[in-house]
């Protein structure tokens, strides 16, 4: 529970809300280098995309959006896999969150994935305000030790700062009690297919109309080969720099290169020929069968229509 801060008798009274006073910026910095006692937070990209999308669709006049985070939690880490936004009204002195809505949505989501539970909430924006403390209290009732995540969609520092916090009590018990938000380390994790999806989405950054079509098969192989070629040429230029003395040789990198070269399998030419030929024969046979089947059903079609 929070109370209004008393007049400063203790010189190092911690601030109850983070504003941009120099004292608090020092605290931010201190928290960055302090050991984090909370769990590791693993986020899937779909959650962040959802948050950005709900920020873009916010009501007129709302400066930020809040919502619930769903996922799974175990002893040392918390995995955030889903989220939904919750309508809320925020003004100078009060905040109203539609809790019915939140409960309803959670029930609906549970029908699809029964293993996801409420593990915290998110808000867009850079600061943690007093209202956040209240909302955090509400979420503490829903989940044990909820996480609070902030996504800076206003791009205050030219980057989208994504941070996660866990709250803990602080202050002198009995007198001035408050809530402190300790930052947690964030890791982005992807399923394999998710990473492939995200790679495809990255390509929309290149085109001016922000659109991107899906490529055909051989073109994909060509682009993958192109990527490997790029990586190889980067490596080669680095090696040449080291050899000519422009760059200091790094032992660990040298070891990796050694590993790489040793991993290339040594096969005799005849073995490789035979492997290659048998594989090519398999593929050609399957192509022939597929073509034959297609011709067959086309023929069947024509015969029926006669």
């Amino acid at each position: 529970c929070r109370s209004k801060p008393a007049t400063a008798r203790i010189p190092w009274r911690p601030a109850l809300s983070f504003s941009s006073s120099p004292f608090v910026i020092f605290l931010h910095f201190l928290y960055k280098i302090m050991a984090v006692h909370g769990p590791l937070v693993k986020i899937h990209p779909v959650v962040l995309a959802s948050i950005v999308d709900s920020y873009e669709r916010r009501n007129e006049g709302a400066s930020r959006v809040i919502g619930t985070l769903l996922g799974t939690a175990d002893k040392h880490s918390v995995e955030v896999t889903n989220c939904f936004s919750v309508p809320h009204n925020e003004s100078e002195d009060e905040v109203a969150v539609d809790m019915e809505f939140a409960k309803n949505m959670y029930e609906l989501h549970k029908k699809v994935s029964p293993s996801e539970v409420i593990i915290g909430w998110y808000a867009t924006g850079y600061d943690i305000t007093e209202h956040s403390v209240l909302i955090h209290e509400y979420y503490s009732r829903e989940a044990p030790n909820p996480i609070h995540m902030t996504v800076d969609t206003a791009l205050q520092s030219n980057k989208m700062n994504i941070r996660a916090y866990v709250s803990s009590q602080m202050g002198v018990p009995g007198k001035t009690v408050g809530v402190m938000f300790t930052p947690l380390t964030i890791k982005y994790i992807y399923y394999d297919t998710e990473r492939i999806g995200v790679d495809l989405l990255q390509r929309t950054r290149a085109s001016p109309s922000r659109t991107n079509g899906l490529t055909t098969d051989l073109a994909q192989v060509a682009s993958a080969a192109g990527r490997v070629q790029e990586m190889l040429s980067t490596m080669l230029s680095y090696i040449e720099d080291v050899l000519s003395g422009k760059v200091m040789a790094d032992n660990s990198v040298g070891r990796y290169l050694m590993d790489l070269v040793n991993k290339v399998p040594k096969i005799t030419a005849e073995d490789f020929e035979s492997m290659l030929n048998s594989n090519i024969n398999d593929l050609l046979m399957v192509t022939y069968l597929a073509n034959l089947t297609q011709a067959q059903i086309a023929l069947n079609e024509k015969l029926v229509v006669l």
Binding site: L155, Y188, T193, E194, T204, D217, L218, L276, L283
Partner: protein, 335 residues
């Protein structure tokens, strides 16, 4: 699935397809991938609803939500109610709540089935521009996103409306298995803010590229595809046998009818020559009931499915041949 009578845009030219292109938000792609990854393992199919709006001749899909599976276990689960509740809630947070289609995952490309046809028909009947998005997770795991959008051709829509699947009706409409579903090209679009997010992710994530796309092994995938193809071809041959027996029966019956008529005529002339009254005309049709024509819809579906399998297999083999030739070139360099 409940068909909602929401007509977002009045259908323009009914002969031309009203939707020429599909524009999908990156968010929808990620959600579909996540839904399959978490809830659908093996050959189970996951489904969900697509939300968005229609802009000129483009269908924009801006959000989606998944459908829970295993509704047989929970008897008092109402699909329509779940949908209505979800859409009402999404309306509160300003997400487009117009139903524009549905998505489904597929196992090795097998999705041309009666169920899909029925669902898509009811969707397209209610909402003219709706599509079905087919997401192939196995092909995606091999290196690149495989997402396709399909609609029923207008010809097929008419036939489904009539519910007449006899051979004559299909012949009249000249529908081949290639004209059942038409594919609509897809384009992925991201807003500026999402692009900033992607930039951030790329800088922060330390996931190394795994290059599944350059994987040379193919036998596992080929085996499974060929297995499925064989099953369908078996089904196809059964249908063909059925149709052949029907044709044979029909011709036999025609012959019998002719013979009977001829005999009748002969007898009549004989009787006339003897001066007796001719035998009464009997209703031929009641005596020779024509055999039941087998419905051709299943055959059409199987043919469509076989075609789809073959195309997938050919795409896969062409990719692998390319990779093998690349490997050969590399080996040639080093040896």
């Amino acid at each position: 699935m409940g068909s909602l009578k929401e007509s977002a845009v009045s259908g323009s030219n009914p002969l031309d397809s009203p939707v020429k292109q599909i524009q999908i938000d990156g968010l929808v792609v990620l959600k579909i991938i996540k839904h399959y990854q978490e809830e659908g393992q093996g050959s189970e199919v996951v489904q969900g609803v697509l939300l968005g709006l229609v802009v000129e001749d483009r269908l924009e899909i801006t959000n989606c939500f998944p459908f829970p599976q295993h509704t047989e276990d929970d008897v008092d689960f109402d699909e329509v109610q779940y949908q209505m509740e979800m859409m009402r809630s999404l309306r509160h947070v300003n997400i487009d709540h117009l139903h524009v289609g549905w998505y489904q995952s597929t196992y090795y490309g097998s999705f041309v089935s009666r169920a899909l046809l029925d669902s898509q028909f009811s969707y397209q009947h209610a909402i003219e521009e709706s599509v079905v998005l087919i997401y192939d997770p196995i092909k995606t795991a091999q290196g690149s996103l495989c997402l396709k959008a399909y609609r029923l051709t207008p010809k097929l829509m008419e036939i489904c409306k009539e519910k007449d699947f006899s051979p004559e009706a299909l012949k009249k409409a000249c529908i081949g298995y290639e004209h059942m579903l038409e594919e609509v090209p897809i384009v992925i679009k991201n807003s500026h803010l999402i692009n900033v997010l992607l930039l951030d992710l790329q800088e922060k994530s330390t996931v190394a590229d795994k290059h599944e796309l350059l994987n040379l092994s193919s036998s596992n995938h080929l085996e499974k595809s060929l297995q499925l193809l064989m099953d369908r071809v078996d089904g196809m041959s059964q249908e063909i046998v059925k149709y052949n027996t029907y044709c044979r029966n029909l011709t036999k019956q025609q012959q019998q009818k002719q013979q009977y008529l001829q005999r009748r005529q002969q007898e009549n002339t004989q009787r006339q020559s003897r001066g007796e009254p001719p035998l009464p005309e009997e209703d031929i049709n009641k005596m020779f009931k024509p055999p039941q024509a087998p419905p051709r819809m299943d055959t059409l579906l199987i043919a469509g499915q076989v075609n789809n399998y073959c195309q997938n297999i050919k795409a896969f083999t062409s990719q692998n041949l390319g990779k093998l030739f690349m490997a050969e070139a590399l080996q040639g360099h080093s040896s």
